[in-house]
């Protein structure tokens, strides 16, 4: 599903040039659950953004579902992102001025799903995230864990092939964090491919495979035996 070869990404700011990713080659098959770990600033988010087609690599190749997308324009990337990719962030990234329902509805809106179907699917997704009763509330009125569940509902509602999560439990306490991890695991078991950036060893244990990043380079890759056996 994902195959990168020698991905590099550098940022220029005024005078310094940071090499955030240095020749990253990574292969992710369909229905894998991969955790990306590493110290802060090592390039995890940068990698995830590129893999999620939010950003472009400076050089290298990136094949997503059979397409070479490294040189895609923003509008081409938007087209692929739509419906295929779901995002979960540490800071939830919900729109404050929209209700929970409207937030979750957005991806379907952009996929031009008819209204009646939208309603059913949103309520179903919210129900699954155990947040259906807060559909009319605004994000600011929810706790962090509830907000993250809304964000996950929003990420999964178009049934994406790939879910990208950037420290999804980073802003949550352990109880809420676990709940989120369980939800992701459930999705994985239903057939989704999941790429998750995390700091926490505990969270990484839910994954199938762990990729360790240091200074923009992959240093080790390890297969999570517990998971493999479960498979």
């Amino acid at each position: 599903m994902i195959k990168t070869t020698n991905l590099c990404k550098s940022f220029r700011t005024e005078e310094v040039e940071t090499l955030a990713l240095n020749k990253v080659s990574l292969h992710v098959r369909e229905n894998e659950f991969v955790a990306i770990m590493g110290p802060s600033g090592c390039g995890k988010s940068t990698l995830l953004n590129i893999l999620g087609l939010l950003d472009r690599p400076t050089s290298g190749s990136y094949v997503f579902a059979g397409h070479e997308v490294a040189k895609f324009t923003e509008s081409q990337r938007t087209r692929i992102r739509k419906g295929n990719l779901g995002f979960v962030f540490q800071s939830f990234n919900l729109i404050d001025t929209l209700t929970v329902f409207e937030n979750v509805e957005l991806p379907l809106l952009y996929l031009k799903v008819p209204k009646s179907e939208r309603k059913d699917r949103v309520m179903e997704a919210l129900g699954r995230m155990k947040i259906g009763h807060r559909a009319k509330h605004f994000p600011q009125q929810l706790s962090g864990g509830q907000q993250q569940r809304v964000a996950i509902a929003r990420a999964v509602i178009p049934n994406p092939k790939l879910i990208l999560a950037d420290e999804p439990t980073g802003n949550l306490d352990s109880k809420n964090g676990n709940e989120v991890m369980n939800l992701l695991t459930e999705l994985y078991q239903e057939g989704a491919t999941i790429l998750m950036v995390t700091h926490s060893d505990h969270d990484a244990q839910f994954a199938h495979r762990i990729v360790n990043l240091f200074d923009g380079q992959i240093v080790t890759e390890s297969v999570n035996r517990e998971m493999t056996t479960r498979e």
């Binding site: 509008s75 938007t78 739509k82 419906g83 800071s91 729109i95 957005l106 991806p107 952009y110 929003r154």
Partner: protein, 808 residues
């Protein structure tokens, strides 16, 4: 303390330089307009203030009563007789002088040259009543001798190349008084040129006694010249006016009775006093006084200075709205700073002070830029207003006072409200991010709607103005003014003889096709079938109608072949026929009531209606009689594309016949166009005001869009992440603002419709207010707003979402 505050203010302006620029541009435009408007106002209201007698210097006004008994109007003029009679009866009158002229030009010659000079006939006390300092000569004796003449300094220069010319000799050979004087005029004094804000202007002053050699008039019922009086300080004006009326009642009794006997109505007259300072803006001149004997020139009405000030204030309001909107909105971004300052013990006053300081700094910069702008703009402004302002005028105490006043109020308006709003922020709300978004900022949106309503209103005004003026300019006048030069014979000359020679000589010139005469006479009553019809009177020769291509509907033109045409025949216009209900007008008799002897005339023809004068007035009934002597205008029709030759030939012949005369000419079509000069100036002004208003609206909108996008940058990122296309983001961001503009259209349209309808009522011939005018204004507003908004939105929509999502 102040220094740190100032430094902080400066840093803030610099940090927000995009918004600071918007504010400075808007404020500079507004302050520039306001300063110009104040300057104009000051000039208009400062006319004639320079006379040292001023608080006690008055003009005598006359209330005229029409034959039906209603007061027709108050005029600022009197006859010749009132001044002296009033002075004798009323001890509070210290001095008086009559002033006759303003539109009187005389041919004045030295040994070398003849010039046409603007002449005033005045009493010897002229220099005691008015303050016109002399350069040479003595005020008390300057006008004592009947042949004494006072020149203005610039006229002396033109005539003699020197101002030191007291004692030099002048001739006025075509002047009837001079013809009876039997000795030359002698320059008795040289006066400084009247200042440009004087309603009384002259090249040459001649004693009233000199005028009286040829023209005396003891009629109490006449009103044509200005009589000015200096009253004792603190005298009771009302009592004096009553005394005037009593003098009239006794002195004029015989004349009033004669008038009743002759014309059948009692011209009840009573008098008033008008301070000289009010004369410029309230000239009280009726149609006939514009013939130019009232002594008053360069008249105006308060409407111009008011309109200027209103426009400038509107623009200031627009710019202030931007200022307030932007200050509040950027301050929302700064809310954290304010919250922290509050927590760390800064009090309300200090926060307000900081805001006032920032707006003061912005206004200060704008003010300096305005002064620079005005320096550059003064020539343009002068041509727009037909005035002669100078940049230096700004630096006197009075303007300085206005400057300070404007400066202070602008800072207060623009600084105080935002400061007040923002200082009330609760730190808890601010720090916990509970502030509402700009998108829901009701006041800000309301202000944008208000701004755009004004902009759209002005846009409609401008379109209607243009359409109406185009209509007026291109409307068929009913005659053809092309290829016609007008000139006249002036002074006391043998008009009949000169006219004949002129016609003879000119008809031999190859470029000249035809010569005709027309003279405007007053208006008055005409009796037809026992019905009185108010008509205007003209007299023309037999060439006039064919030369200007006015078609006869029935009957015939005047002709030298009919001996009775000169004495008995008239041609009338269609309106006259309609007003008099004549079914078969040719051959019918009419009686001209207000002419001596009530002559009876026979209608020999009817012409198609044609316009004479401004299209503000509708066509009136007209009675045209025949004249063979060119007392009025001489029209010379020339061959197409032979204009230069025609002028040369005309000038040659004219000068050969009248060697001492000054040749002056105009083109008839240009004269017509000149009538609309005032309107054209206003059209330009409205255009500029509209343009400025719209620019200010747009930069304000730009600022608000920018702010709102900055606030929604994360939302935009999220939406893009979820698959929103660029178009849908642009639509999302623009929708709100376009909706505001649509609301503004709904508000502005009916108001503009009402206002322009009222304005158009002032024209007898006017366009209909068609729906497309409003639609066009609306479309223009929406398109302009769309362009303003979409540029910003597009930029936001095209940005990579990753950038906006990254920083948390």
């Amino acid at each position: 303390m102040l220094k740190t505050h100032l430094k902080m203010a400066w840093q803030n302006l610099w940090k927000n330089r995009f918004y600071s620029t918007i504010n400075i541009v808007g404020m500079t435009v507004a302050i520039t307009c306001l300063l110009l408007a104040v300057m104009y106002w000051d000039e208009e209201h400062g006319y004639d203030d320079f006379h040292t007698n001023n608080p006690n210097l008055y003009r005598i006004t006359t209330n005229l009563v029409e034959h039906k008994g209603a007061i027709v109007q108050t005029v600022g003029t009197t006859g010749q007789i009132q001044g002296r009679a009033f002075k004798e009866a009323v001890p509070e009158i210290r001095k008086f002088t009559r002033v006759m002229g303003g539109g009187i030009s005389s041919e004045v010659s030295t040994a070398e040259k003849t010039l046409l000079l603007n002449t005033l006939f005045v009493d010897t006390s002229f220099f005691e009543v008015f303050t016109f300092p002399l350069v040479h000569g003595t005020a008390l004796t300057a006008l004592k001798d009947v042949n004494g003449a006072v020149l203005s300094a610039s006229t002396a220069m033109r005539l003699f190349n020197s101002t030191d010319v007291v004692g030099r000799v002048l001739r006025m050979e075509s002047d009837p008084s001079y013809q009876r004087l039997e000795k030359p005029l002698v320059v008795s004094a040289i006066a400084k040129d009247p200042p440009k804000n004087s309603s009384i202007q002259f090249d040459i002053l001649l004693p009233f006694e000199f005028l009286e050699l040829a023209f005396t008039d003891t009629n109490w019922l006449n009103t044509y010249l200005g009589t000015f009086v200096v009253l004792e300080p603190a005298s009771n004006r009302e009592r004096i006016e009553q005394q005037f009326n009593r003098v009239f009642a006794t002195h004029a009794r015989d004349q009033v009775e004669q008038n009743i006997a002759r014309y059948g109505f009692d011209s009840k007259i009573n008098y008033g006093l008008q301070n000289i300072s009010d004369v410029h803006l309230e000239p009280l001149l009726s149609g006939n006084d514009f013939n130019g004997e009232s002594g008053i020139v360069d008249t105006s009405t308060p409407i111009y200075s008011i309109a200027f000030l209103v426009i400038a204030l509107l623009i200031l309001i627009l710019a202030s709205i931007n200022f307030i909107n932007i200050t509040i909105a950027t301050a929302l971004n700064r809310a954290k700073e304010i919250g922290i300052r509050k927590i760390s013990g800064s009090n309300k006053i200090q926060i307000i002070f900081q805001f006032l300081l920032e707006s003061g700094l912005l206004c200060g910069i704008s003010f300096l830029l305005s002064l620079l702008a005005i320096r550059q703009l003064i020539p343009i402004f002068n041509s727009l207003t037909a005035k002669q302002f100078a940049f230096e005028q700004f630096f006197n105490i009075e303007m300085g006072g206005y400057l300070l006043l404007i400066f202070g109020s602008v800072i207060l308006i623009t600084g105080l409200y935002p400061a007040f709003v923002l200082s009330r922020f609760q730190p808890s709300e601010v720090l916990y991010n509970k502030l509402k978004q700009i998108g829901q900022n009701v006041v800000g949106r309301g202000l944008i709607v208000f701004q755009f309503s004004l902009g759209i209103f002005l846009l409609i005004v401008a379109i209607v103005f243009h359409s109406q003026m185009d209509y007026v300019r291109t409307k068929d006048l009913g005659y053809n003014p092309a290829q016609i030069i007008t000139t006249r014979i002036s002074g006391n000359r043998d008009y009949a003889a000169i006219g004949n020679v002129l016609k003879d000589e000119l008809s031999r010139e190859p470029a000249i096709m035809s010569i005709s005469y027309i003279r405007n006479q007053s208006s008055g009553g005409v009796m037809v079938n026992n019905k009185r019809i108010e008509s205007s009177f003209k007299s023309v020769d037999d060439n006039y109608l064919p030369d200007v291509e006015i078609p006869l509907l029935v009957g015939r033109n005047f002709s030298p072949d009919f001996a009775t045409d000169l004495t008995n025949s008239v041609i009338v216009n269609e309106t006259f026929v309609n007003a008099s209900n004549l079914s078969d007008p040719v051959g019918k008799s009419i009686e001209l009531i207000e002419y001596e002897g009530k002559p009876t005339k026979t209608i020999i023809g009817v012409v198609k209606d044609f316009h004479f004068g401004s299209l503000r007035e509708s066509i009136k009934p007209m009675v045209i009689s025949m004249a063979q002597v060119p007392y009025g205008d001489i029209l010379i029709k020339f061959q197409k594309s032979k204009q230069r030759e025609a002028i040369n030939e005309l000038e040659m012949v004219y000068k050969a016949i009248m060697p001492n005369a000054v040749f002056k000419y105009d083109f008839l079509d240009e004269l017509n166009a000149k009538q609309y000069r005032q309107e054209l100036r206003w059209q330009k002004l409205v255009d500029i005001a509209t343009l400025l208003a719209i620019i200010i609206c747009c930069i304000g909108l730009l600022g608000m869009v920018h702010l709102s996008i900055n606030q929604r940058i994360k939302e935009i990122g999220i939406r893009k992440l979820l698959g929103a296309s660029v178009t849908s983001i642009v639509a999302l961001l623009s929708k709100d603002f376009i909706r505001l503009v649509l609301i503004a259209i709904v508000i502005a349209t009916p108001i503009a419709w009402y206002a322009m309808n009222r304005w158009l009522q002032g024209f007898a011939y006017r366009i209909d207010l068609q729906w497309w005018i409003f639609a066009a204004a609306g479309v223009v507003a929406v398109v302009i707003a769309m362009i303003t908004v979409s540029g910003q939105s597009l930029r936001a929509a095209m940005a990579d979402p990753v950038n906006s999502l990254r920083n948390e």
